[in-house]
């Protein structure tokens, strides 16, 4: 082996194998085969048709000759026929003539040899024949017609087919070479397309691999052609964008959760710590422990609320969907909160239309109204003591939705903040000093989404009016 031997062609073979396996290559191969078959059929038809036309032409020429000769024969008998044949046979051309004795011996004509069996019966044949002197061994092809004349003499009229055969050969050559060209171009084209597409797909695979390896900011290259691969790359980029967004959102939520739970956990820990250090009497210790338990219960409550929101946002429609009267639920929950509102010096008014049935989860809708009322009672007190201290709970039907509305006369929420308060753990500054975790409205929003409804926060001038709109049940 020479030291300069080329490296083993494994790489090339692998590359070829990859190209052979590509969809583009398989497709172009399939088209190639289809096209070759169609081209063969078309060219074959042309060749067949040309031959037929030529044959027809030859036969009609022979027919004309025969007509002429038969006239001569009728007019002047065998002798005249022989004379005419002799004259014509002497002329150059593709026409062939022969008159024989009943025994088949040559009388006159430009055909020197014929297969013996042709002369035995009259009719049309395509056959070899010898021309001119017997010394010329070359054989030609011709279409011949044999007639029996009176007395057993035979007349053979024919025409050489050399011209026709040359044309056929030419057609055949054209056919073969064009087919070869089609195959060659097809293979090259397939190869070109396959390797081009393959290169771009390989690029995409490479990029996605680096993205999967952790480079979430990586994006696929989008060409300017706007073709399928570009669109695919675009969509994949959008998908990556969305995933990134969700990841950021998730990180934000978990950061928030960690941050917002740290405060109550620290308080819990401090309370226990202080009890351990300072509680002198069993009673003090007991009171401290009870406080610790209360704080823990609060935390459990937060976790439960978070879990519920997460479940609702996962969007699995609960199976326990039933038809219920949302008005009745609003009334019951309002009644549940009425004493609490009264204790805080707020009057609670209920305005509910009859028959507000909807299909949904009664528990969740009840909890949503409870959360709204809870907020209204916590934050809905009018700043001036002389102002109206009222909360209105109303339920009505409008345009195929049931609107459950809780309105207070408190400070309300500035328009810019209305979107934000629906997020988890968002508490406006005014609320920071009150107990709570900023989950109430998030849960209401999640309930609205789950039911295919909406949540709207509006100015109650003064105060806040929250409307939970849920699709009404079909009548």
């Amino acid at each position: 082996m020479s030291p300069a031997a080329s490296p083993p062609p494994d790489g090339l073979i692998a590359r070829l194998g990859k190209i052979f396996r590509t969809t583009a290559f398989k497709l172009s191969l399939a088209y190639l085969v289809l096209f070759a078959v169609l081209a063969s059929l078309g060219l074959g038809y042309v060749a067949w048709n040309a031959r037929r036309v030529l044959d027809d032409q030859i036969v009609s020429t022979i027919d004309a000759e025969i007509n002429g000769l038969s006239e001569q024969y009728t007019a002047g008998g065998l002798r005249r026929l022989i004379a005419v044949v002799e004259r014509r046979a002497g002329e150059p051309g593709a026409s062939l003539y022969l008159v024989t004795t009943p025994a088949g011996e040559h009388i006159v004509g430009n055909v020197s040899r014929l297969p013996a069996d042709i002369l035995a019966r009259s009719g049309q044949y395509e056959s070899y024949y010898g021309r001119g002197s017997d010394a010329d061994p070359s054989e030609h092809r011709a279409i011949l017609r044999v007639f029996n004349l009176a007395g057993g003499f035979r007349l053979v009229v024919g025409r050489d087919t050399e011209e026709r055969d040359r044309l056929r050969a030419a057609i055949g050559n054209t056919f073969g070479s064009s087919l070869a060209l089609v195959v060659l171009l097809g293979v090259l084209g397939g190869w070109f397309v396959a390797s081009r597409v393959l290169k771009r797909v390989d690029d995409m695979t490479e990029t996605t691999r680096t993205i999967m390896a952790g480079d979430l900011d990586g994006r696929l290259r989008v060409g300017s052609a706007g073709d399928e691969l570009d669109r695919l790359a675009q969509n994949l980029n959008l998908m990556l964008e969305r995933i990134g967004e969700l990841m950021r959102g998730m990180r934000e939520v978990s950061d928030n959760i960690a941050h917002d739970l740290k405060t109550p956990l620290t308080r819990l820990r401090n309370r226990a710590d202080e009890a351990l250090r300072n509680a002198e009497t069993p009673e003090a210790l007991r009171a401290a422990m009870e406080g610790v338990i209360e704080d823990s219960d609060g935390l459990i409550r937060v976790f439960n609320a978070l879990l519920t929101i997460a479940r609702l946002e996962a969007g699995n429609a609960p199976e326990s969907v039933s038809r219920f009267d949302a008005g009745a639920v609003a009334r019951e929950v309002a009644e549940l909160y009425e004493p609490l509102a009264e204790d805080r010096g707020l009057s609670l008014t209920v305005q509910i239309e009859p028959d507000l049935s909807l299909d949904g989860n009664r528990e969740l809708v009840g909890q949503a109204i409870a959360n709204l009322l809870d907020n209204a009672i916590k934050y809905g007190a009018c700043a001036s003591a002389s102002g109206p201290q009222e909360i209105t709970v109303s339920a009505r039907r409008a345009d195929g939705v049931v609107q459950l509305r809780v309105a207070d006369r408190g400070p309300g929420i500035p328009e810019a903040e209305r979107e934000r308060v629906l997020d988890r753990f968002v508490r406006l500054d005014a609320a920071r000093t009150r107990p709570g975790f900023g989950l109430g409205l998030s849960l209401v929003a999640a309930v609205a989404r789950l039911h295919g409804g909406s949540l709207d926060l509006a100015d109650n001038a003064p105060g806040l009016a929250v409307t939970l709109s849920l699709p009404a049940g079909a009548a």
């Binding site: 009870e290 338990i293 459990i300 609320a305 479940r311 609960p318 549940l336 004493p339 009840g366 409870a370």
Partner: protein, 232 residues
Amino acid sequence: MRLLIIEDDREAAAYLVKAFREAGHAVDHAGDGLDGYALAREGDYDVLIVDRMLPKLDGLSLVRSLREQEIATPVLILSALGQVDDRVKGLRAGGDDYLPKPYAFSELLARTEVLARRRTAATGQSEATAYRVGDLELDRLSHRVTRAGREIVLQPREFRLLEYLMRHAGQVVTRTMLLEHVWDYHFDPQTNVIDVHVSRLRAKIDRGFEHPMIHTVRGAGYVIRADEPQAS
């Protein structure tokens, strides 16, 4: 009362066993569904506390099998599963009560005791038409409440609240239990809504009497009882 706890988490099970024993109950423990099923079939328990996710035989199938065997021991299902419907599924499978994790032990204890009492009551006679706790009487048929012979006028909801407390006289009932049974909602009331209702009821029942009957149990709930509790 005799309890069987079927829970595969060792730590959680050990905590429950200890806590229930300290509360004065006899407790057995099974670590998987099949063991639990066998014990539940043979032992005479007052309440079964069944975790939903168990190795070998899951909690709901276990309860369903027990009910098919016509074993009517009350079952409380514990679950960490995340679906809104879990409660409904648990009750449909034959559970008597359902508590999602995480829960406060006081809540579990209160619910377990109520279930156990329901069982002893059920084996006795059908539900009473009147309750009496000390000098407080409630007639379920005529909707009349009297204390020491004096009539007390209650709103319908207050009546049902008192009825539930008196049915479980001497037992702690939690706020969520009250919301479930008196208002028929299963969510967690965020502020002290229930407390306000109880204090209104308390004002009507206890005002003007020497001994209050409705007591608050810190970190747990309420209990109605005729006498001051003995110091323990």
